[in-house]
Amino acid sequence: MEIKREGADRGKAGTDPDEFRIRQIRARDLLRGDREGHDLEKHVQESVLTTTLEKALDWARSNALWPATFGLACCAIEQISLVTSRYDSARFGAEVFRASPRQADMLILSGRVSIKMAPVVRRIYDQMLEPKWVIAMGACASSTGVFNNYALVAADKFMPVDVHVPGCPPRPEALIHGILKLQRMVQGHPDLGWRTRYGAEGTEELPHPNIALSPAET
């Protein structure tokens, strides 16, 4: 019994060995360009395997950011309200708020940081394991907010902060916006700063050599 297969015959017109060779060389060039030896190995490592793995890890990390509660003051109440049913933060991946900093990825500094509390915050931040991110929630954590006095310190004076969420207190939706911004940052395509987005380069306030800024300088 003979089984007929399409195009499986050798020596027929569709499987010209030269054409086959041409296709093979084209495929090889597509994959590796003209790299040879050590360069080729490095290229494979970096581009094919690792990048995809990194991207996958970043995607996984961003969608499962477990916050450590750092409820300090009024913003903490809005943060709790973020966790509860109306503005559910679990749908963004912040499934559980870990009490122990060693089990958390993200620190949401909600509330004013006093000078007595700052070393404690720093210690909690140091106890977190890499990779870790910080959201400074509210005006008091980002700068010192409404109070600009002896007792407070802004969070980014003593620890690196990734996202600042303005508001006093910020609505839970504002905090969600901040968390989503952080997620995009973790995934590797951070949001553009507002000056880039609106084409506002050149609006920074710098002292101009020709403009007198105080009567004494004229």
Partner: protein, 176 residues
Amino acid sequence: MPDPAGLELIAHELRERHPESIADTLYYRGIATLVVEPDHVLEVLSWLRDDPQQQYGFLASMHACDYLPHEPRFGLHYELLNMSRVERIHVKALLADPGEPELPEIDSCVSLFPGAGFQEREAFDMFGIVFRGHPDLRRILMPEEYEGWPQRRDFPLGGEPVLFTHNEHQMPRWYE
């Protein structure tokens, strides 16, 4: 509130018992204030608490104020409340500032009103007023090693200057 006549009666009885204790009486906007010499504060407070006619047994609040540049500089205020008659009387003691490094002193009323414990610690922390006889006088709101008495009027508010265009020249090249 005891009315002005009632306040004068209280002051009169106190002057009979402790001659130099009352410095002044004030009645303003319905609040009766007894101004008391700081050395006799405990006597006045214990009489106001224990005397069967007075019975101001609840210390609602105890706070301090810095009246710089008026002398005497510090004022200690005790808000006493009589719960059965719902009457409040305000006792005020004025303390002079002995000048750095000494601190103004007054007797602690924790023995009469244990609820004043934290409040006296706060007055010590914020103004530097020492309460003799307080069981545990140390800073409560500021860190324990903090130097300075924050709520005194000559203590600077602190904080950072907010930069606008008009004061940027004071901090040149802040953006670096």
